[in-house]
Amino acid sequence: MTTPHTDPVHLRDGAVSIGGRPVLRGIDLTVHAGEFLALMGANGSGKSTLVRAFTGLHPLTTGHLELFGTPLHDFDAWQRVGYVPQRASAASGVPASVWEVVASGRLTRRSLLRPLSRADRAAIDEALAVVGLGDRARDGVSHLSGGQQQRVLIARALAGEPDLFFLDEPTAGVDLASQQALAEALGHLKARGATVVLVAHELGPMAPLVDRAVVMRDGRIVYDGPPLDDHAVPRAGLEPDLGAHAHHPDPAHHDHTPHIGSPLEGGQA
């Protein structure tokens, strides 16, 4: 075990409230360098919220979080962190090529108004090659399949050459072939010695990569230990076993819903 001062993620007694409601309570979690950690649990168990707290997207209500030994408040080495948010699509309102989306992941290492260096271009090309989309660089990202778009999002995080990865359900709604491609890309990361925190419902082809499993239930950690197979997770989470097929994405996602009744209220829905 490395010294606690340089662990990629070190959270003590963390709690997160959203809109005044406690969502995560009493979270103690340390992720060691080079570890491949699977964060598992049912919908609404708080695993995505925990990852968003690690990246600073959700502020901690209480507790102390350090990334690479630096308190989050003072942390600015964001080029060391790669984040793959949970997205149904990598597209936006204007066409963008695969290359352009992946290149935006390189911004962590570029200063303002400086053109792309040779190292930047090489990192972007390598990221595309790792996820197996080297030949699709010039295609519009909206023309790709759902699984290929997830691989674009992973390549975007890879382009910054970070050594700590947060992946939020990259396999949700992705066909088996793309899951295999994702698993290969993650295996490549692991071989490079990167630390990976993977939020997943079921591991599928990624199961052999996992060193450690953390299971959450209702905002608390209920299991922390060696990897579990997919069917053992509900038992570890003290949940009724719904089988491996009750894996629908959370429909109550608020980001894009207009709240007509309260346009001026603070806080996040």
Binding site: T55, G56, L57, D76, W78, Q79, V81, Y83, P85, R87, A90, S92, G93, V94, P95, A96, S97, W99, E100, V101, A103, S104, G105, L107, T108, R110, L112, L113, R138, D139, G140, H143, R156, A157, G160, F166, D175, A177, H254, D255, H256, T257, P258, H259, I260, S262, P263, L264, E265, G266, G267, Q268, A269
Partner: protein
């Protein structure tokens, strides 16, 4: 051609070119965030700014800039704080801005036709100072939009990813709002506050019918915006020998005509793209041979050839025919 030797026409041409460049540059980022109507919201707020200038006897251009920037920042704040879709915030400001503008103009004792110069543009009466203000502001907008393109693209594409990448998302959001407000006031004299959003959005919508990357969309939108703005001005100038043709609406209608021409092309390109997307590389369950086949499939047979694993399937009346030795298989 001697029309262009007239000083007012030269000023109008300059204003049209710079407006045509700047408005679609910001518009691209607004469309990317799916906030196409933001320019309209800011335009309505700027009406109040113009009226404030008329009321206080100061330059309406500068009061419009100040009020539009404040309105744009307010829209951003409501969007962020309320965690709401931008459209509610926009709606609130639309009505307040327009009602306030008309009320203040009345209070100032100005006629509706004075306000109309700003609502629908009056590019041919633009003064020398106004041309310089237009050129400088438009140049700033274009430089920022192109120079900071990587950052602005990343923030608009995925704000959460951009934040974890260490970008100050709030600063960039406010920057885009301020740029939008500035280009609204820049375009105010060209196409008018009520039509300004058209010059921000229509060229982008036209460009993305045929483009696949962000950079080409941005460049093409700026080119289309300039062409529409200049073309509309010239058409209206020549047409005004015969009838009263206002430049503002002509520019907007010309831009829309451009979209109408490009749209079928976009529909065709997208449907072809869908048709030619490779089939998943799954082997069929069983070996099924097609009936007697009237012709040989090939590059010239007219049937769409779609990659399928290591070979090509020919789409044939709802079937997929794969060449297999001397016959075709159903895939």
């Amino acid at each position: 051609m001697e029309l262009f030797t007239l000083a007012f026409m030269q000023r109008a041409v300059l204003a049209a070119v710079f407006t045509g460049l700047a408005a679609p540059a910001v518009g691209t980022y607004l469309v990317q965030r799916r906030l196409s109507l933001m320019g309209d919201g800011i335009g309505h707020v700027a009406v109040s700014g113009v009226a404030l200038g008329l009321l206080t006897g100061t330059s309406p251009t500068w009061t419009a800039v100040v009020v539009a920037v404040l309105g744009a920042v307010a829209i951003e704040v409501i969007r962020e704080r309320g965690h709401a879709n931008g459209d509610v915030a926009l709606a609130l400001l639309f009505y307040g801005g327009l009602a306030g503008g008309v009320l203040l103009t009345g209070l100032a004792g100005q006629s509706a036709s004075r306000l109309q110069e700003y609502l629908f543009g009056s590019i041919t009466t633009i003064s020398r100072t106004d041309v310089w203000v237009t050129i400088v502001l438009a140049a700033v907008v274009v430089l920022v939009c192109v120079g900071l393109a990587p950052q602005l693209f990343a923030v608009a594409q995925d704000p959460e990813f951009a934040r974890v990448a260490g970008l100050n998302v709030r600063v960039y959001n406010v920057l885009v709002a301020v740029l939008a407000a500035v280009s609204v006031t820049v375009a105010m004299r060209t196409v008018g506050l009520l039509l300004v959003s058209a010059l921000m959005v229509v060229p982008v919508a036209t460009a993305q019918q045929v483009t696949r990357s962000f950079r080409t969309t941005l460049g093409a939108a700026m080119a289309i915006g300039t062409a529409a703005s200049l073309g509309g001005l010239v058409i209206s100038a020549f047409a005004s020998f015969h009838a009263r043709v206002a430049p503002g609406p002509t520019i907007v209608l010309l831009a829309l005509a451009g979209f109408m021409v490009t749209w079928p092309l976009g529909v065709f390109l997208r449907s072809r793209q869908r048709m030619r997307a490779p089939f998943p590389a799954v082997q069929p369950e069983q070996h099924e041979v097609t009936d007697e086949h009237p012709h040989e499939h090939g590059p010239t047979c007219g049937h769409v050839a779609v990659p399928h694993g290591d070979h090509v399937d020919y789409v044939h009346d709802g079937h997929r025919h794969a060449p297999h030795g001397t016959h075709y298989d159903e895939h």
